[in-house]
């Protein structure tokens, strides 16, 4: 009865505002995807599958599809092993310093993939400054081992292990502790409890996490671009990039089909994930207030050492490589007391006009997107919670799409939608606005979901009380809803800022001279051999990322449950 009550409550101004914001948001987030679909099934203005058939039968398409599936699939497997091991140990046992472990495990997900790739190439191969300094570099001429399918798979695995870790940990936390206690009182010990009780109950969330990891790995552009392009190994996203960069918008129709192909594989993965997640919710009832802490006994210290060693290897070591490279005068020179220099830092941060422009662009885009999304999401999430109309529910089920779909798909869709604005000759392609609109669409869910989570826990009587004393919709939004959901909105804004500030995939396809973003600049610096400068810039960005994450962590206790993504 309560949901029906909410449906009918309130005033007409709410209904009007809801429709208005919904229309704008649907145009922003879902229209591009629809436009892309139309492009794929038409040829020169009429419905035709000819183009689709042509592109899909090209050998380059088929090999890129195969490469995508292989790297994403095997990369997911590595994420699964690493992420699941960490999740089970952190969620079920009495390890110490869990909060620190979780925080460190989140960093790989927040560091942009092109920086992950850059940092790993700095600790391997013949020209690694770190290895040269230590005197263990392979001889000149030896290949860079990461410029290979195996390298891509390995780094995709590390990059996305946090996703498995998070979904599985959330699933494990929803297991009522009495279920495990009942197994133990029945005589099941240690691993047997895990295998026969915990494991079957977590399979749905494990499967959901695996599916979404696969989709994310499939859409990853930074890692296959940095590692695959030098090796001549193209995946679907890099194939789209290469075609578009090489031949411009003349191949737009062709890359649309490729984007649809990626989109189709991704949608299959998303549907699988939704299916698994809905299973998870079915049968778990009971108290989950106390987290599980099965004693590890004598194995605790060795396990802790092992886990921190893994974190050191995948997080700290590559950063040392990056740091070493950024401190030498020229790439390949070993780092010694007499060669150490901050020249690359100085050059990239203060001298290069491109980088300062990119800083301004990325900062403006990220801050602008955060502010615009707060302004859209706050009233929208509130009104959708109050008035569960059919359109609102449909939108709720689709709004994750622009974020879940690979960035390449959204970028191509945005180009199609904005290259020629309807009823005019104007174009947004090549301006900063196309990147801005693409960011709004892509990061919409990043802002919306935390705000929604906090508003779901909000007592509707607080709003009704304001209504009964005469406050208009605008006053209620300003005086009651905004202050109470401000922490969630702030967390969402920081997350959007964080992701947008580092973003590469979307801007790589949408940038032009003057609208470079930081992601693009790092990519281009590395591409043109300026590895020291690229490393210095990457270090700066990692620093910004960690500071922003620490900021969220610091205030996490003040956020409602479900707002900080790594504290679900």
């Amino acid at each position: 009865m309560m949901s029906a009550a909410q449906q009918n409550g309130g005033s007409r101004s709410e209904a009007r505002l809801l429709s208005a914001i919904l229309v704008v948001t649907i145009c922003l987030t879902l229209a591009p995807v629809l436009r892309l679909f139309i492009e794929g099934v038409t040829y020169q203005g009429r419905p035709s599958l000819e183009l689709m058939r042509d592109v899909l039968t090209q050998p380059s398409t088929l090999s890129a599809l195969k490469h995508s599936l292989v790297t994403a699939g095997l990369g997911t497997l590595i994420s699964l092993v690493l992420g699941a091991a960490f999740a089970f140990l952190v969620a079920l046992t009495d390890l110490r310093a869990k909060a620190a472990l979780v925080f460190c495990l989140m960093i790989p997900m927040m560091i942009p993939p092109q920086i992950t790739a850059l940092s790993w190439t700095q600790i391997m191969g013949p020209s690694s400054v770190l290895l040269k300094t230590l005197g263990i570099a392979p001889p000149l001429g030896a290949p860079q081992p990461l410029y290979s399918p195996e390298g891509i798979i390995f780094l995709l695995g590390i990059q996305h292990m946090s996703i498995i870790f998070l979904t599985l940990r959330a699933g494990l936390r929803s297991i009522p502790q009495d279920v495990v206690e009942a197994a133990r009182i029945s005589g099941a010990k240690g691993l047997r409890t895990w295998w026969q009780v915990v494991m079957p109950l977590t399979l749905p969330s494990l499967a959901a996490g695996t599916a979404i990891t696969f989709v994310t790995a499939l859409g990853n552009f930074g890692i296959p671009a940095m590692l695959g392009i030098p090796a001549g190994y193209a995946t679907l996203p890099t194939l789209v990039y290469q075609k578009l960069a090489g031949m411009g918008t003349t191949v737009l129709a062709e890359v649309s089909v490729l984007a649809m192909l990626i989109g189709a594989v991704a949608v299959a993965g998303i549907l699988l994930q939704r299916l698994c997640q809905s299973r998870q919710k079915l049968h778990l009832v009971g108290s989950t207030s106390r987290p599980l802490a099965l004693p590890l006994g004598a194995a605790r210290l060795p396990v802790e050492v092992l886990l921190w060693a893994v974190i050191f290897a995948i997080l700290v070591l590559p950063m040392f490589g990056l740091l070493a490279t950024s401190l030498v005068p020229a790439y390949g020179v070993p780092l010694r007391l007499d060669t150490v220099t901050l020249a690359a830092w100085y050059e990239v941060l203060f001298r290069q006009p491109v980088t300062s422009r990119a800083f301004a662009n990325s900062f403006g885009l990220a801050a602008g997107a955060s502010v615009a999304l707060v302004a859209i999401c706050l009233p929208l999430a509130w009104l959708m919670e109050r008035r569960k109309t059919r359109l609102a529910r449909l939108f709720d089920s689709l709004l994750d799409l622009p974020y879940a779909l690979p960035g390449v798909v959204l970028s191509i869709a945005m180009i199609l939608l904005l290259i020629k604005l309807p009823f005019t000759e104007a174009t947004l392609y090549g301006t900063i606005w196309i990147i801005f609109l693409a960011y709004l669409a892509r990061f919409f869910a990043v802002m919306f979901r935390p705000v929604q989570a906090s508003l779901k826990q909000f007592d509707p009587a607080l709003d009704e009380a304001a209504q009964s004393v005469g406050a208009s919709l605008y006053r209620r939004l300003r005086d009651v809803i905004l202050p109470l959901s401000a922490p969630a909105a702030a967390a969402g804004a920081i997350l959007v800022f964080l992701t947008a500030f580092n973003e590469l995939t979307v801007s790589a396809l949408l940038w032009s001279s003057g609208t470079e973003t930081l992601g693009v600049v790092i990519f281009n610096l590395d591409d043109s051999g300026e590895t020291s400068m690229a490393s210095a810039l990457a270090m700066t960005i990692v620093f910004v990322v960690v500071v922003l994450m620490a900021l969220i962590q610091l205030f996490s206790r003040r956020f409602p449950k479900g707002v900080v993504p790594w504290q679900t």
């Binding site: 009550a5 005033s11 009704e464 304001a466």
Partner: protein, 348 residues
């Protein structure tokens, strides 16, 4: 201050009726209680008065203004009705101090700073909250929070005050105190008050008139005394007070007096009109325990009520009757009961 007039108000939620054809009038300055079991529609009725729900059919008028009319589709939003609402959860804004919570309605109405301060101080004083004005709601106890909610709704001089189970979250002792606060508040302001509760003791203690609701309808709308002594049907008889409804076997009319055969005994009954009656309501007051009572029954349960005992007895023909006594009986004891002038009504 204003009266409230409802005509044929109905409400359905997704096809399920929650309120059916409510036509009634709450007079200016009356303290009305809406009483009923959960799911009877009392909260829905209150929310329609406040404007949080729109009626599916029918009309609502408060004072001189038509608030809702399902035929024309007119529905004045809650923020324009000038009505006070006290929520079960108090609904204090946690980010505002007590003073700001109370002054917010005046802020909305664009009162001057001095006016706002004066009215707020008066509202805080009348609820005994002067010393808590600068605290945050989270620092207050349940009873204090309820006072803040009351102060907030009275500060803007509403034309009616609606209260949705305001005492449900308080402990028993505090409930009695707060009942006093509400009654005093009603006396002082003369506001029309509509009070939703499922606790009949609360309704009896405070209300001028009680509307007993069940299954979306008002079953009876009368003073507490009338409800208790002259219930109109089986639901009201059983819901209000302690009583057993038993069928009448035969009625005989002798001049003005009416006699009926109940559980084999012949007794005089009272009823509302000449219309045929079918059932009587037997309350403890209608039953006297005596050695030679004509209704033989056995004690099934004894409950000490403080100063007296409540006996649940089973008669030979299987009816369960409640009687009160100052003497102690053992479970299983045989006793005789005499029925004196119970209230009879017709029930199909």
């Amino acid at each position: 201050m204003a009266d409230i007039d409802l005509s044929s108000v109905s409400k359905t939620f997704a096809g399920t009726p929650a309120l059916e054809d409510i036509t009634t009038r709450f007079d200016d300055g009356e303290f009305i209680a809406l009483l009923g079991p959960s799911g009877c529609g009392k909260t829905t009725l209150l929310r329609i008065l406040a404007g949080f729900e729109e009626p599916s059919s029918g009309r609502l008028r408060i004072g001189t203004r038509e608030m809702a009319n399902a035929e024309t589709g007119a529905n004045l939003p809650p923020e324009e009705r000038n009505i006070g609402f006290v929520f079960q959860s108090y609904a204090l804004w946690p980010h505002m101090s007590v003073r700001r919570n109370v002054s917010y309605p005046l802020e909305i109405r664009r009162f001057s700073k001095a006016e706002t301060a004066r009215h707020t101080a008066a509202a805080l004083a009348s609820t005994g909250l002067e010393n808590y004005a600068d605290r945050m709601p989270s620092d207050l106890s349940g009873g204090q929070r309820q006072r803040v909610a009351l102060a907030r709704c009275l500060v803007s001089d509403p034309c009616a005050v609606l209260l949705d189970e305001p005492l449900a979250n308080l402990d028993v002792a505090l409930r009695a105190t707060m009942q006093g606060v509400f009654t005093d508040f009603h006396k002082r302001t003369g506001a029309t008050m509509v009070y939703v509760t499922h606790d009949q003791a609360e309704a009896m203690a405070m209300a001028d008139r009680i509307a007993v609701m069940d299954q979306g309808r008002i079953q009876q709308f009368d003073t507490p005394q009338t409800l208790y002594e002259r219930p109109r049907n089986r639901f009201v008889a059983e819901f209000v007070g302690r009583g057993t409804v038993v069928p009448i076997q035969e009625v005989t009319q002798a001049g003005n007096a009416q006699q009926a055969r109940i559980l084999g005994a012949r007794v005089a009954v009272q009823s509302a009109r000449e219309a045929p009656v079918s059932h009587v309501c037997l309350r403890p007051e209608n039953l006297t325990i005596s050695e030679h009572g004509d209704l033989r029954s056995k004690v099934a349960r004894v409950t000490y009520m403080g100063g007296k005992y409540l006996l649940e007895t089973v008669t030979d023909c299987g009816a369960r009757l409640f009687a009160e006594t100052r003497a102690r009986f053992e479970v299983g004891a045989q006793l005789g009961l005499t029925i004196t002038t119970p209230w009879a009504f017709s029930e199909d």
